[in-house]
């Protein structure tokens, strides 16, 4: 019986998604700011 640690897996996958998407968004926003003015 494998140990019950799915919560850790979910936490990690969520963290990765947040950082990846968050960084992508920050890049796009900063680029947009440069294009505007």
């Amino acid at each position: 019986m494998p140990p019950e640690n799915t919560a850790f897996m979910v936490a990690a996958y969520v963290v990765v998604a947040v950082i990846v998407v968050g960084y992508a968004v920050s890049l796009l926003l900063r680029i947009r700011e440069q294009r505007k003015r």
Partner: protein
Amino acid sequence: MTLRERGNRIARLGTVVTALALLGLAGVYVRAIVYTPVEAAQGAAQKIFYVHVPSAWAGLMAFVITGLLSILYLWLKDRRLDLAAAASAEVGVAFSAIILTTGPIWGKPIWGTWWTWDARLTSTLFLFLLFVGYIVLRGVLTDPGIRGRFSAVIGIMALFLVPFIHLTVYLFRTLHPAPIVLKPSRPSLPGDMLTTLLLSVGVFTVLYAGFLMLRYGLGLLREAREEELADAP
């Protein structure tokens, strides 16, 4: 092509590549969570492996590329090399953040402790801190020539630092083996798991490329803006 046009072009390309990579990442998520078997001894937490290891690969690649671009910049003095090195450094910091967060989340259930002071985590920690310093330094230096040269110095030294940190941890571990609460045996990855890992590595590589293009494009656009402001009457 003007600086602004080039910046826009690379930013657009970067957006496409990043979008593709994000789709790929979603695919890897599905494959890892649903279609890859759970490892019997370690449980579902073992699957963190599929995002942690590729991040480590991407992070290492980012910092090595920064180091190499730094050397090229000092040699060829092309400002674009400096912008590219800085872009790679920032992307490396992002991937390091992933490594430093998923590492403990993986470590706790698998190794029994949040932080394991192994070679990879330790190197990543210090590289992360060093390149945060790199970014801060760039922030306080206003002259682009000085900024480029000083950044290059840090980037090159970081390249040489990594093997020494690895050596330090290796020596430390050899002389003081840590008692490990749970001891997962080195899994020889069966086919399915290996495929998932390789797919993930591929996706993270594309993600690195996409981020790099976006960040480089941003750098070019900022430089274009500086020039425009300087030329304005």
